[in-house]
Symmetry: C2
Subunit: 421 residues, 2 copies
């Protein structure tokens, strides 16, 4: 939700769609800047304000948007009525709902709650009466009826969850951008809008820094097979459809790589000469996890003349992993504490100023040459690779941050993403 | 609720009062300017936005304040704990509640709802656990669980209603001003803070333009005999206590006039030569009421040689009444329509630029000279009186708006209000 003009446009769109015969349910996020304003107020009181009162506070942004959108729909519907009598006799066109009104039940994890159930009885009744429900995204209630929130971008997840509960045919996500791109257009001029993409690819892209959708909303859409349409709330043009792999169709199957993602501000830790000990890996990552540090790429190199079991190294074993810059100092502290106690004699090397570039695509499962092509493209651009990590539909390389833009452009062109239509 | 500093001060005050052994319940209003901001957003969409979505929208201001005050109390309470372990083991000091959480039940009159019942079970449980409830003022829920609001200043009424439901010993109202004054300090430098005032006087002052308290909150306090203390949220000095007439005490009974109120921007209509007809008054005020016009002073003059029944005039009867400036044009339209249909032959005179000055005091019931003294004081200042209206504890005079300040000063000094201690 942006300005009043955008709210008026959403209202118009909802009434138009209803006039075309669709049953419409709107799920709204806060107006732009509103959540930041509320967070700013809270952090003036407490820099780490995560608790039930914080969720109660920041959920108010969506409440404002619900009020305004409902008001806009009802006002526009009234203006369409020709006489005062008709206006008075006309029943409301839209009705606003907060999380507790329609039982959006979540767990008790404030600020990162997960939806557990949605009661659709009232919603279905309202829809059957021809009224458009306007629902506050981002919020739910825990078992004690405390307001909970779903984390940044949580309104996407609310929309998909409600679509799933109502068995909707389609879930349209209106955002600041007009769709999902083959890469970040700020990094690569040749970035192209993706017409159709699979849930899996979208999840990889979302987790790799393409911040168009909250990743949980894509997981949920995949689970309940809800087709998503990511589109612009400014322009009425088709955006990106996120669908199941099966429904991608023949033509799209030929596309090997769907997109290139880039994540700057990575830091790499390397632990060398690790002592032989059982469960060493578990200890390291256990300690990092306890400090709430998210570890990304993990690479472990065991000298081949030793046969080490899982979680064990011989002397001289090497472990590398990356964390994002904001966690760097916290991670260093954890590792230094470990070095003094359980990892005595090992050597720790840090490397800052790194970036992760990744290519994502379901097609690469049937095209074994993607990895080697990626390495060749980076080599041809003179970009050394510091770490490699692969998954079923993704290959990531850690490189110098200063070469990130060049790497993205090289990969985008090399995999012919500028040709996608 | 003003700025973050004021919120911090409220939190500190609540914790201090609790430490002194009091059970504390906080009822909070929106931060200053917030409700205006929300109303402004709504009126951009619809100039007359009264409906359920409007209430849902503007109730969010109090939700923000509840979140921030609760956060401030819990944060300050944590900071008082000395070690991390103690902080973690400490249970919360405050908990936020919205209208629906504690069943603040109202009627269905959006934007002007009246409280019908408050469920105190949860509140009493929370209080018994030593937790400070922080409750959103201004809001409740109707029988369908829609959010309702209580009108401007409604948080005062919420506070008194909750105090009544909990049978509180005292209800403190923290406002922008440090108490109720004998008159508007902007009009008269000699205005003095009133230490103690009766509910009845406070109601008359509130309805006459001393906008310190919502009048319904005073009605409610009188009904349930809840002592109010109107005081400053900026300075910790005693304010004005609003109490029952019985508990005003001997000394105060000697004060004849408690305050002087002034209301600018009045318009007077006079209808002359009204035709003889049954129910004429009812028709006029019925039509005005239908157009939602609030009529204030009404004076009717029946020529004494005729014996007209209620609501009837002989030819030549005269009716005068006042409305406030914002209703002027609407009222003129209603009256002109009536003149063409049912009041043919009558003459309508309008007079703009008027003000109403009033003296209020329970003492005047036993001092019959108050009215004549008021007229004499105004006459001595050369201020002509256009209309007079009296009630049990109030006398109002309509005068020229340009003389309002002079009239207030003259009455304030004449009734020796500057001597009140």
């Amino acid at each position: 939700m942006g300005s009043i003009e955008r709210i008026q446009r959403v209202a118009q769109w909802a009434l138009d769609s209803q006039a075309k015969g669709f049953d419409i349910v709107l799920v709204v996020s806060a107006m732009s800047g509103e959540t930041n304003r509320l967070v700013e107020l809270a952090t003036q009181i407490n820099p780490i304000p995560y608790s039930s009162e914080y969720d109660l506070l920041i959920a108010s942004g969506e409440q404002v948007a619900v009020g305004l959108v409902t008001l806009a729909i009802n006002t526009q519907a009234q203006q369409m009525g020709s006489s005062a009598t008709e206006i008075q006799s006309r029943k409301i066109a839209a009705k606003g709902f907060l999380g507790h009104h329609i039982g959006i039940r979540t767990d008790r994890v404030f600020s990162k709650a997960r939806i557990q159930a949605i009661d659709t009885v009232l919603l279905k009744k309202v829809i059957s009466e021809g009224v458009i429900p306007v629902i506050a995204g981002f919020q739910g209630v825990d078992p004690e009826n405390n307001i909970t929130t779903l984390g940044r971008g949580g309104s996407d997840t609310s929309a998909v969850a409600i679509a799933a509960a109502l068995e909707a045919d389609d879930c349209e996500i209106y955002t600041d951008v007009d769709g999902v791109y083959t890469t970040d257009p700020r990094l690569c001029q040749e970035a192209t809008k993706i017409r159709r993409i699979s849930y899996e690819e979208m999840m990889e892209l979302a987790s790799l820094g393409a911040k168009v959708l909250q990743i949980r909303s894509v997981e949920l859409a995949a689970k309940y097979q809800i087709p998503l349409h990511v589109r612009s709330s400014f322009q009425p043009v088709p955006g990106t459809r996120v669908v199941s792999r099966d429904s991608l169709g023949e033509k799209m199957e030929q596309v090997v790589v769907a997109g290139v993602a880039a994540d700057p501000s990575q830091v790499k830790f390397t632990l060398q000469n690790l002592p032989e000990s059982s469960g060493g890996v578990a200890k390291i990552f256990g300690a990092l996890s306890e400090a709430a540090i998210v570890v990304d790429i993990i690479v472990q190199d065991v000298p081949s003349h030793r046969s080490a079991g899982p979680g064990q190294w011989g002397n001289g074993g090497t472990l590398s992993f990356t964390v994002s810059k904001p966690d760097f100092l916290k991670a260093r502290k954890v590792l230094e504490d470990l070095k003094e106690t359980q990892l005595q004699g090992c050597r720790m090397v840090e490397e800052e100023g790194l970036a992760k570039v990744s290519v994502v695509g379901v097609g690469m499962q049937h095209h074994p040459g993607v990895a080697s092509k990626m390495f060749a493209l980076l080599a041809a651009s003179g970009i050394p690779i510091k770490l490699i990590s692969t998954s079923e539909i993704k290959i990531s390389c850690l490189i110098a941050e200063g070469q990130m833009k060049q790497a993205v452009e090289s990969l985008h062109r090399g995999f012919e993403l500028h040709r996608i239509e």
